[in-house]
């Protein structure tokens, strides 16, 4: 347990001092995105890695958070913090209600069901033009503020977002190591066995689904308030797939793995900017190779690779 705390403090320290090296750099903006993606990846990982339930619709919850927050502050001039909490509550309750029928599905069917859900939400963003501005997007969303401190620069937003990330990481680690976490892992390995042991599998799945949706919604609100402009393409099917990729690349069931996955996938487009149109091909290729050769993700694959290399080296010598 002490090791866990040490790991967390180290992570927090890295997060805290990173801006020193990038201040004034456009990379600060990328780091803000990385924080939002980390939150989303952790949210999906709680569902996928711990409870073993796939979702291809998480971009929808992210979008709901962003749009509810955005519309309430810009059109109805709510306080941003209040709008954010309201969005989280609303998305949480909706996910809880929708979760009961949808999470009855399993495997591929669940993938398709959640995908359908995500696409329906996405179409709503596009079609409710009077409310959301439709395909041309929605602008004029207020920044968050505490007293006189307004989060209007990348530097300030960095600390805002990463504070949320650190809280999310802490919550998730706690959850993973709690009774609920153990019940979830039992559910992941065998739903029948978990139920026999007295785990209320159905309720637990729905609860984790709702929690995951709430985290996505908060991330969405943060996104809306830092970007001040949102448009439907950020919340489509492709982004759901991207989130899934982050979780899988990082490693299922590993919170820090989700961070790694999110970091890699946020930086990748920046690195591949030179490659321009080739990025989609490289992206698909990386995803495919990862699943084929490192199905456990980076957190498990890299140490294993390391062991293999050093192990072989030792054997030859």
């Amino acid at each position: 347990m002490n090791r866990e705390i040490f790991k967390y403090l180290f992570f927090a320290l890295v997060v805290l001092i990173t801006p020193v090296f990038f201040q004034g750099n456009y990379l600060m903006n990328v780091l803000v995105f990385m924080g939002i993606n980390t939150m989303l990846a952790i949210a999906l990982n709680l569902l996928l890695g711990y409870a073993g339930q796939i979702s291809l619709g998480h971009a929808g919850f992210f979008g709901l958070g962003a749009y509810i927050s955005g519309v309430l502050t810009a059109t109805y001039s709510w306080n941003p913090w209040f709008a954010m909490s309201f969005a989280a509550a609303l998305v949480g309750i909706s996910a809880f209600l929708v979760g009961f029928p949808v999470l009855k599905l399993k495997g591929h069917y669940l993938a398709m069901g959640t995908l359908g859900l995500g696409i329906i939400i996405y179409i709503m963003f596009n079609e409710t033009v009077e409310l959301t501005g439709g395909p041309s997007g929605f602008s004029g969303i207020a920044n968050l503020s505490i007293g006189t401190l307004i989060f209007d620069s990348d530097f300030k937003n960095y600390y805002l977002i990463w504070t949320f990330v650190l809280v999310t990481v802490l919550l998730s680690l706690n959850l993973a190591n709690s009774r609920v976490g153990r019940a979830l892992r039992a559910l992941h390995d065998s739903e029948v066995a978990a139920r026999v042991m007295g785990v209320n599998a159905r309720l637990l799945k729905v609860q984790i689904f709702a929690l995951s949706a709430v985290i996505c919604s908060v991330a969405g609100s943060l996104y809306a308030h830092t970007m001040t402009f949102i448009a439907p393409p950020s919340f489509g099917f492709n982004f759901s797939v991207e989130l899934l990729t982050m979780v899988v690349i990082g490693g299922l069931g590993s919170i820090y793995g989700s961070f790694l996955g999110a970091a890699l996938l946020t930086l990748l487009p920046e690195i591949l900017r030179e490659a321009k149109d080739y990025d989609i091909v490289i992206y698909g290729l990386i995803l495919m190779l990862m699943v084929m050769f490192m199905p456990g993700g980076l957190v498990r694959g890299v140490p294993e690779l390391f062991r293999k290399i050093t192990g072989k080296g030792g054997g030859n010598a």
């Binding site: 949808v102 398709m112 859900l117 696409i119 149109d277 080739y278 995803l287 495919m288 084929m292 199905p295």
Partner: protein
Amino acid sequence: MQFDQLLQFSLSGLSTGAIYALIGVGFSIIYNATGIINFAQGEFVMLGGMLTLFFLETMQLPLWIAIPSAVCVSTLCGLLFERLAIRPLREATPINLVIITIAGSILIRGISMLLWDKDTHSIPSFSGDEPIAIGNATILPQHLWILAITLLIVGINRFYFYHTISGKAMRACAYNRRAAGLVGIDVKRMVLFSFMISSAMGGVAGIIVAPLTMTAYDVGIILGLKGFCAAIIGGMSSGLATVVGGLVLGVLESLGAGIVSSGYKDAIAFIILLLILIIRPQGLFGKAESERV
């Protein structure tokens, strides 16, 4: 809503529905043989259209050669996909299988975008654009082509699955892979066949629909998903139920677009998908099963 309009929407819905049916049957064939939902299915539809365009315009071939060539090449892509991505991963978890097919679809889409471009292209109709009047509604000759070719393919499929050794072997795999292997059926080869057949069907669907809807490197996603809706309505059957599912979906979508709003057209399909999944996971016509895994 007048009767004429209703007729018009239904007629055009039927032909889109036929496309969904073809794609849906392709989905089901792979699912039944392997238990995999192939998210890359839509990409073969895209390949069908884009390859036809390539053979027509770049290679300057006549339509009647371009079409079979396009079907052959997309079948080849299906074969390669199974060999390179699916076969090495047969023992993977369902989540990893979902991801590998998604990765495959991204890759195919990306390569097509690089090979061709990001533009939307049109393909000439097979036999002119002179509308044909049916009562007070009209349809295009291409609609007839779509319906006829779909019928033909469904017929061939039926013959293959019920009257040839290889088709019967594939059905045996669908019932019980292990038992099929024990009686000497080469299950691996059947899996390969299933990918080839469904990529060929996807390719055909893409070719016959292209003159109506135009084609581009990214048309595969939504068409593939609609095909999946059809398969779900049909209870993942590789036969008539999915064909009916596709037609029902096409007509409902077309009516919905006409009556409600065309913007929500795609939403209709997914709402139907969710309803069916939740209320009747065995499909509209299927018998209840204890568990869908």
